[in-house]
Symmetry: C2
Subunit: 346 residues, 2 copies
DNA sequence: ATAATTAACGAAAACGGTTGAGTAAACATA
DNA sequence: TATGTTTACTCAACCGTTTTCGTTAATTAT
């Protein structure tokens, strides 16, 4: 088991009788090196099995070609798609992607951002943890001119790039859709209200009710810790046991919405006739559940792509850090059988 | 917008009147530095806002505390859970995780592994792309003593660590389960046969049939390109249109199995009475589909955890690279309504 | 023909840690 | 008392690139 020695630009320099500077420039297509030499250098680099050491380059430039990601957890469909979009565009540009999961813990997010900083990332893409309401730990980046792109779950009081969907409009549209299907008493499964996404979805819901002169009933609005399957099931049970149960549910995510469908079915409640349901995210489960769940689709991969591009552009042009450029992407209401009462009409 | 200067160990050294070496050692808890000094150094480091530059350390050590991952694509439940497991254990040990997606293209896998190598990763965790059947591009790691852990989709002819499930036994058990439910003509949705996972699942299927003296009918065995929803649906349609259709399906993944359920339901075929179905992976969709899909559960996060630990151990102990240590994890058959005929009996 | 410009490359100093070898003082041992 | 051992540091080289200044020779302008 003998370990082969690494080939460096010095080895190339010695072999070709050039200085390391020339080799470096040739490899980077510096125009002050003749095309002939560039070709020669690149060919022998290939031939000798030279592989650049990005750590050395990174040290010298005080920046590695790396994008850092801080998210809650990977194994959720939306997040996985987001990361997929980031990775794809980053890699095309020759950048690596480092991921870190907060598991929705504030403390983890702090430690992770530190670790990412220590790697001298070119930029950070972050979707906040559930618990985060203080943003001090992001200053280490802005202090050093390192761009941050917040995506989906973003802070309202922090100057930086943001890539989001219009949660308000989506919440409004989802609720309006239920109203148009004839729902009069629509419940809302809401998420943590200090997170912009859930706060805005709820606002949209409330405004739609107002718009159509439907009363806002506080006992139909429930704030969930995690919008999990279990939570959703329990809440659906509670709601449907009311003397005057709701005839519609707008859930801030699909998991809870699906749990509502499954619970209602098990109790013989007809969907959508007695209870129309719409979720949020367009998770794979939403098209599999029976009846299929209406929902709001997120352009997750696209959001990742745009976020990555923000970082790449910034590092090219060195934009003014103090500018907070917000990108708002369109959502789409996907109507399936869980809410489509009109389809049932002759 | 003025960018703050970075604090280095030289700044700490100057401030404390120590040499940089002492600072470095103190920060790394080297025992040749007095506890008093260590505390002093760490405290002022904290106070001055010192953050280590892992690029510099990595350059010096010719290895960054980073684990590289090469997988097909992130946004699949199994892969996302796997990565989640890797990230969690890596981060606990102070390691970063770089991900790269091949999108199941051999060429991408080659480029990605090069990029990972260039980052001087401590080790590589890889689940092969669909197209990979040549392993030359992994030699760059073993040549340099960098450990590789293949996980799930592993090469059979390459010396390295491997973390897998017993696909053969799982395939056997899944098929046996259908047989025990009374199925006589069981179809198999198989994947690409040069991938160990699909090859072995099929072998298990075949051996179970033999064991129970059921005939092997080639027209019930179908090899899929991607085991997608559409492929599964088409194939189910074809199978159920036969004059003598199968009474059971063992699908090598859940997506195709779910598509079979949905297709059969749409055609009024009773599940599991007329057609019993079992899938593979225990994707979230499998418990949501109605009737719920029986399946084989993968300990995905656990596999990630073990893979990461292999890398960490290796880098601590510098094990003999030529040893190919294989870890085989248990799977579990999860019986749900899509195959549970006995439940229907009084 | 001479001055000015340009093209093509080289020397050497960073970048921020790590580490083997060395040292001075304090302490223990024979 | 002389010697050996520890303790707690320091020195300086090194990791592989990049980049700022040069330098030299060739080309162009005057």
């Amino acid at each position: 088991m003998n370990i082969k020695k690494e080939i460096t630009i010095y080895d190339l320099a010695k072999k070709l009788n050039y200085s390391p500077s020339t080799i470096s420039r040739a490899l980077n297509d510096n125009k002050s090196i003749s095309k002939k030499t560039v070709k020669l250098v690149k060919d022998t680099a290939e031939e000798m099995g030279y592989r650049p050491n990005v750590l050395a380059a990174g040290l010298r430039n005080n920046k590695s070609k790396t994008i850092g990601i801080s998210i809650s957890r990977i194994n959720r469909h939306f997040i996985a798609s987001l990361i997929s979009g980031i990775e794809e565009t980053a890699r095309k540009a020759g950048y690596n992607v480092i991921i870190s999961q907060s598991n929705d813990k504030y403390k983890n997010e702090i430690n992770n951002t530190k670790a990412l900083y220590d790697s001298r990332i070119t930029g950070l893409i972050c979707s906040l943890s559930m618990e985060t309401s203080d943003y001090e730990h992001f200053k280490q980046f802005t202090d050093k001119g390192i761009p941050i792109v917040f995506v989906d779950r973003v802070p309202n009081k922090f100057n930086s790039y943001k890539v989001v969907i219009d949660n308000y409009s989506a919440g409004y549209a989802a609720t309006k859709h239920l109203i148009e299907q004839g729902c009069k008493r629509i419940a809302h499964f809401a998420g943590e209200q200090h997170l912009n996404v859930y706060e805005e979805r709820k606002k949209g819901y409330l405004d739609a009710l107002k718009e159509f002169n439907l009363p806002i009933e506080e006992n139909l609005i429930h704030h969930f810790k995690t919008l999990s399957f279990e939570e959703g099931k329990k809440m659906t049970a509670k709601l449907m046991a009311m003397t005057n149960p709701p005839d519609g549910i707008f859930s801030a995510n699909d998991t809870a919405a699906v749990s509502a469908i499954i619970y209602a079915k098990s109790k013989g409640i007809k969907i959508p006739e007695e209870l129309a349901i719409i979720g949020f995210n367009d998770d794979p489960i939403s098209s599999i559940v029976d009846p299929a769940l209406s929902t709001v689709s997120h352009p997750a991969a696209k959001m990742g792509e745009i976020s990555a591009k923000r970082i790449l552009e910034h590092s090219k042009n060195n934009y003014d850090q103090s500018v907070s450029e917000v990108t708002i992407l369109n959502t789409e209401i996907i109507i399936r059988d869980s809410s489509n009462r009109k389809k049932l009409l002759p």
